[in-house]
Structure formats: C-alpha cells, structure tokens
C-alpha cells in the first residue's frame, strides 16, 4: 500500500489563499472571495454582499445613509478600511510576508510535534527524492550517550562483530536523522555519516530542492523501512531495501544511492556469521560489490505483496547462514517474483472493479416494507398501552416478494458490471 499522505506539504500550505481580515485559509480563491463577501463585505442592514470594503462602504452610505467604520468579523488590527482587499489582491506586502512566515513556522512546529509524538519520519519521506522537511536532529551528546548505551547492550549480548563496533564510532559525530532507527540499524550508521555529511546544511534550509544530495533520500527512505520492519530479524533487509523504490516507482531517478543502499542491508543479514564481510564503516557509500538484491525487488509491486515477501523471508528459521541463506532467499525471491507477476495481473484485473466500487453506495436505511417510522414505533419506549397490532398484518403484503426480487436484481446487475 502506498504511504498515506499525512497532510499538505508546506508548499501547498503556502499556496493556499487566505483572508486578510481573519487569517483563515481556503482551498481556493473562489471560496475565499465567497467567504469575504459573506463574512466581511456583507451589509448588516440588508444582507447584501459586496465585493470589496469600498463597495460596502459606498453601499452603506448610499442605501442606508450610514458610514462604514470597520470591517465585520475582522481581526482587531485588520478591521480598517484603508486597504482595498479582493481575494488575495491588495494584501500589503509586509502582512503577506508575516503570514507566510507564520504558516511556515506553524508547519514546522506541527511537524516537529508530530515527529515527537509519533516517531514517524517527516512527512514526504519515503517520497523518495524529497529531502527531509525538517529532520529531527539529535543533540550530539545525546547521540553519543545512546550510542554508548547501545554498544554496551550489544557487548552484553555478545553479538556483533568488530566491524559493527567500529561503525557507530565513526558515525557518532555526524547526526543521523530520525532517532528511531538508531538503536536497530547500526548498519545504516555506517552509511549515514558519509551519506549525510554533506547534507545537514541542506536539512536546515527549507526543503524545496528535491534533486539534491542523493544521500537525503536514502536516509528518509531508510527510516520508514526500519520502522516498519525492524521488529523482525535482520533478515527483512533484503526485502526492505527494495521496498521504498517499489512503493514509489516514480522515484527511480533518485536511484544513484541505491546500490550502496541495497548493499548495506545485506551485511546485516548474516549478523551471527561473519561469512560476508560487511562494508567498512565510514567508507564512502560507493556501491559495494555485494550481490544486488534490490534487483529482485525492482518490479513495481504493491506494498502488501512486498510485505508478504518479507514475511516469507522472516519465517524460515535457518536463515542466519551465509550461502545457504543466499540460495534460499533466491528461491524465495523467485517464487515471490512469480507471486508478484500473478499479483500484478490480478491487480490489473481488479482495477475496473475498484472503479465500480467507487460507485458503490451504502444506504442509511434499507427495508422494503417497514418505514423508518414504523420501525421506530416498535421500539419499547414507544410502546402504547393498547394491544399491539398483530405481526402478520404488518408483514402480510403479497406483492412484497416481487419487489424484493426486483431490488435484488438491480443489485446483481451492478455486480457483474465490472
């Protein structure tokens, strides 16, 4: 399933027309002008709606012999008649700028809050080429503390090769974005520093440019992945890597980092065995020479199937082992590719159905012979202190059956229509 869009992007927010008088924003200019006519330019004497404050003023003085002194329903400092507003026209430059700033500030704040509250990556992440809107950056010392903690934990568990130990060390100084993948994805660390090193300035600046550092998409893509799949074993990675591209095919151009990306998960997989050397920590995220698992995932697949694939991977117990594992995965991948193909075919077949579905309706009340009132009258609280009318008379309508038939027919007509 595609990622749910959580909200409008800042661009969209910025582009929304808004009312000078009350700072409300609207879907489009037409609605704004309607709003202004109804709320601010309406004559309180006769209800006539004028187009502008000037128009209202003239109307008031000519028709009602009254002087318009202030705009109704306006913010205290905006009630003046000195500016001529129509829709977005006439809004003074400084007010416009202030509004934009406020929108941006609100947006960032909401973003930060949501991230803090949900731990989700910033909106638009996973949308590939889009760099983080405002990645939540951990403070350096906090980073290090957690790192230490994490390492201690690792050491305690007695897992983790030397290479992994090294990884965090080098990554420590740079700030990886979403904190939520820090604990699990030590491997990503290895990549992150190099990848994100050039990024930070960009992360701070406001994020229009999407083309930018290839690293950025990588990070973002990574976080949802970790988030989604980290509870399972390391095994999910081969699948995980292709996941974001699959979900977001339009992003293909952002792929340069993919090789490194695809590779990075791989080493994680053989955590316990050291058979496959993990990439050197801190190395430039050049594509490692490892098998290109992402290729398997490349076909555009819907997320559900992807997940199925992942599940398939995760389940087999004998997965910790290098070569066998690779073979096994290949086998699985082949089968899942088959699944994908058939799934895609199914999808294609389903499409018209979906369209049909959009016409589907849900009725609030549906009965052939009992009207809502009659149904309501049968409620105990409306019971009348006289003998209830015998059931059979209520239902005893001969022709009903025929009607039921007709209605069913009409339903079945809808169904095979796809």
């Amino acid at each position: 399933m595609g990622k749910k869009r959580r909200g409008p992007s800042l661009d969209e927010l910025m582009a929304r027309p808004w009312c000078y008088y009350c700072e409300r924003d609207f879907d489009d200019l037409k609605i704004l002008t309607l709003h202004q006519k109804a709320k601010h330019f309406k004559c309180d004497k006769c209800g006539r709606r004028l187009n502008t404050a000037g128009g209202l003023s003239v109307h008031m003085s000519q028709v009602h012999k009254e002087q318009l002194t202030e705009i109704e329903n306006a913010l205290p400092n905006r009630a003046g008649l000195d500016v001529e507003i129509f829709g977005m026209e006439g809004v003074p430059e400084d007010v416009l700028l202030a509004h934009q700033q406020r929108v941006a500030a609100q947006f960032h704040q909401a973003e930060a809050e949501r991230q803090a509250a949900t731990g989700n990556p910033p909106a638009g992440s996973g949308m590939g080429g889009q760099p983080a809107k405002k990645p939540k950056l951990e403070d350096m010392s906090e980073m290090k503390r957690r790192l230490a903690e994490h390492r201690a934990k690792k050491a305690e568990a007695g897992t983790g090769g030397s290479s992994r130990e090294a990884t965090p060390a080098s990554s420590g100084p740079t700030a990886p974005p979403a904190p939520q993948f820090v604990p699990k994805a030590d491997n990503a660390y290895g990549q992150t520093p190099a990848a994100s090193a050039p990024v930070p300035p960009q992360q701070y600046s406001y994020p229009q440019p999407y083309g930018g550092a290839p690293a950025a998409p990588y990070q973002q893509v990574a976080s949802p992945v970790y988030q989604t799949f980290s509870p399972a074993s390391g095994q999910q990675f081969p699948g995980a890597a292709p996941y974001p591209p699959a979900g977001y095919p339009p992003q293909m151009p952002a792929y340069p980092p993919t090789p490194g990306y695809g590779a990075s998960p791989f080493p994680q997989q053989p955590t316990s065995t050291e058979s496959t050397p993990p990439p050197r920590p801190g190395s430039i995220p050049a594509p490692s020479g490892l098998p290109q698992r992402p290729h398997f995932g490349a076909p555009a697949v819907n997320a559900q199937q992807m997940q199925q694939m992942h599940m398939g991977h995760a389940v087999p117990p004998a997965q910790g082992h290098g070569n066998g594992d690779a073979n096994q995965t290949t086998g699985q991948v082949i089968s899942s590719v088959n699944d994908l193909i058939s799934g895609a075919a199914k999808d294609a077949a389903e499409k018209p159905t979906k369209k049909e579905k959009s016409k589907a309706t849900r009725m609030i009340y549906l009965h052939d012979t009992i009207s809502p009132e009659e149904k309501m009258s049968q409620l105990p609280r409306y019971a009348v202190a006289r003998p209830q009318f015998p059931e059979h008379t209520v239902l005893g309508n001969g022709p009903d059956a025929a009607v039921v038939g007709t209605i069913r027919d009409s339903d079945t007509v809808l169904d095979p229509a796809h």
Binding site: G47, I364, Y365, S371, P372, S377, F389, P399, S410
Partner: protein
C-alpha cells in the same frame, strides 16, 4: 446568511414526526407533532407582531407518539394522527380533543382537503379513512382498503396521492372520493368499506421505498422521494407527452472517506406555495431547494446538526421551517437533550424562486 435563520424556542423533547404551517397566508402558526406524544403549536410572531424567536402557544398531550398533524378548515382546528391508532380533531381555542376514528394500527398520515372538506388519514393497517367533518361527529369514516401500507399521502385541490409500500402509488380523484364517501355515509351509518378504484395506479419511479410525496401547488403533478437519496418529479396528466417529462435525480448523498457513497433517505418534501419550487430534507441534515420545472437546484443550505425530519413552507411562502431530529432511521435508543430543533428561515424574495431554465 445565517442572520435570517433562527431556532424556535422550546422544541419537542423527542424526534419530530411532522411540521406544518397554517395554510393561511397571513398566519405564522406552526404545528409540530412529535414522538414525545405531544403536538406543539407555535407562533413565529410575538405579541407585537414581529417575527423572532417564535413562541410556544400550546401543547397537546396524546396517549402515544404523534406521527402527523395538519391544519383544518381554519387555523384554530388541527387534526392529528398517531401511534394510538386514533385520528383526532383538536380545537385550538378550547383544547378539546375529539377522536374521529380509530384505525387498526398506527396512523402515519393525516391530511385535510379544504376544497372538499375531507379529512383523510392513512394507517399501517393498509387503509385510508375518509372523514367528513360536516356530516356530523357521529358519522363513522369511510374505509378505503389499500393494497399495502401507506407511507405518505399528499393532496391538491383535486387529487389525492397515496404512496405505499411495494412502491405502489395510487392517485384518487377527490371529487369522486367525496361523492362516494358521502354516499356510503348515507347508506350505512357505520360507514363501512368503500371500494373505490383509484383514478390512476402507478408504480413509483424510484427503485426503493417511497419516503415522502408532495403535490405541486398548481395541481399539475407531484414529487416523491425514496429512502435511497432520490427524488422523482411526475405529472398527473396521463398523456405520453406529460409522462415523458417525468424524471428523477439523486440527492442527499455524501461520499465517505473510502469512496463509498453514503445514501441518505429523503425524509421530507414540501412545495413552495407561490413559486412552485420545492424543498427536500434528508437524513444527511441537508435541506435543498429545487426548481422542479427547470430541473435545477436553486440552493442548498448549510448542513443541519442532524437528520431533517420535516420541512414546511408558510402559507405565504416567506418562511421555511425545518424540523431536525437525530437518528430517525437507525432507531437510536436515546434522543439526547437539545438535538431536536426547529429552524425557521426567513426567505428572501427570490430565495426560493426558480432561476428559469438554463
């Protein structure tokens, strides 16, 4: 413009079943029947004659929930119908209640024809009772058997439209009805069953249960609505040309987040007495004004807090009253305090006027 809309003070405590303005053009009286077993009489004007809050003049308690109410010959008499199976006449001046007849099941509708001086009630016992108030209070009503339960009835100066279960619809000629019932009345005092052939039998043009019918004030046709968010407009004239003009349209639907259309029942229809346009009120809490001739929507008002149970225009067409009550159709167990409301809209001069064809 919210400024010309207000809520009526002291609304019913349970769901609203019907709401009618006095047909008198100069009157601002509204009667409202409710599931709380009461019929409420409001006047939009206060003592000084200015229209404001609207105040409760009187309240008439019944034995059971009241399902319908209508004004009689003048604005001092009303007729009510309800779950106590009775059709009553209430004199507003004396508060005297007279039971006109008793059905064998809940009575869903009651209408009054000022032209023929007939009170017609429709009950879930699949009969219509026709009462002639001028025949004396002792005369029993004529009983007209119907093929199914009537769900909604509406009349014009000459016709009576009865929408029933099984999507059937009968149109009676009121004149014939009046004659026959008078005859039946004189023949047998217990005014037994009258077999009367409807002027027209029709099948509803809507696929689902008819929810409401309302006749055009110019006696040309009627609109009907179904539980499946649709309204049909049809003409009485049986000529093929007129019948070809009939049409139906979808309304009162909302697209849910999952792309599924949620279809609400269209609970109420009411024609504007002057412009001939009509209002529809749906389970979605929306009231829309339509031009049935030009096939256009004139306007749609902002959503009301819950399902619209009834709509009605005042006799002069200046006001639109909207009865809002929750969970009408899902048989909710509780009606929370303060959700049953009566909104009254003061209509601008052209607010309910058709715009003319495209």
């Amino acid at each position: 413009m919210s400024s010309n809309q207000f809520t009526v003070a002291s609304p019913p405590t349970d769901a609203i079943s019907a709401l009618k303005f006095s047909p008198d053009p100069n009157s601002t009286r509204i009667v409202v029947s409710s599931w709380d077993k009461n019929v409420y009489l409001y006047d939009l004007r206060d003592e000084n004659g200015t229209v404001g809050e609207g105040k409760l003049l009187q309240k008439f308690e019944h034995r059971a929930p009241v399902l319908d109410v209508c004004f009689g010959d003048n604005e001092n008499e009303i007729y009510t119908a309800g779950l106590d199976w009775d059709v009553r006449k209430i004199d507003l001046n004396t508060s005297e209640q007279t039971v006109l007849s008793s059905h064998e099941a809940g009575v869903r509708n009651v209408v009054y024809s000022p032209e023929h001086k007939l009170i017609i009630s429709g009950s879930w016992d699949s009969t219509l009772h026709v009462h002639r108030p001028d025949a004396g209070t002792n005369s029993a009503p004529a009983i007209i058997p119907l093929p199914s339960k009537p769900f909604s009835i509406s009349l014009t100066a000459t016709k009576l439209v009865v929408a029933m279960a099984s999507r059937s619809l009968h149109i009676y000629d009121l004149k014939a009805l009046a004659l026959l019932t008078a005859q039946a009345d004189s023949e047998s005092l217990d005014g037994n069953k009258v077999e009367i052939e409807p002027w027209q039998r029709r099948e509803s043009s809507l696929k689902f249960m008819t929810r409401c019918v309302a006749c055009m004030p110019d006696d040309a046709g009627y609109a009907s609505s179904s539980i499946e968010g649709r309204v049909a407009v049809e003409w009485f004239d049986p000529s093929p040309e007129s019948q070809a003009r009939k049409y139906a349209f979808k309304c009162h639907r909302q697209t849910a987040e999952d792309g599924v259309d949620v279809v609400y029942p269209v609970n109420a229809l009411a024609f504007h007495p002057v412009h001939g346009t009509f209002a529809s009120g749906g389970g979605d809490g929306v009231v829309a004004l339509w031009d049935g001739i030009a096939k256009r929507r004139i306007r749609q008002y902002q959503k009301y807090p819950s399902s619209v149970a009834a709509v009605g225009f005042s006799g002069n067409g200046k006001y639109l009253a909207i009865g809002v009550s929750p969970g009408f159709e899902d048989g909710q167990d509780d009606v929370p305090e303060g959700v049953v409301k009566i909104f009254v809209r003061e209509l601008g001069e052209t607010e309910a006027k058709g715009k003319g064809a495209k």
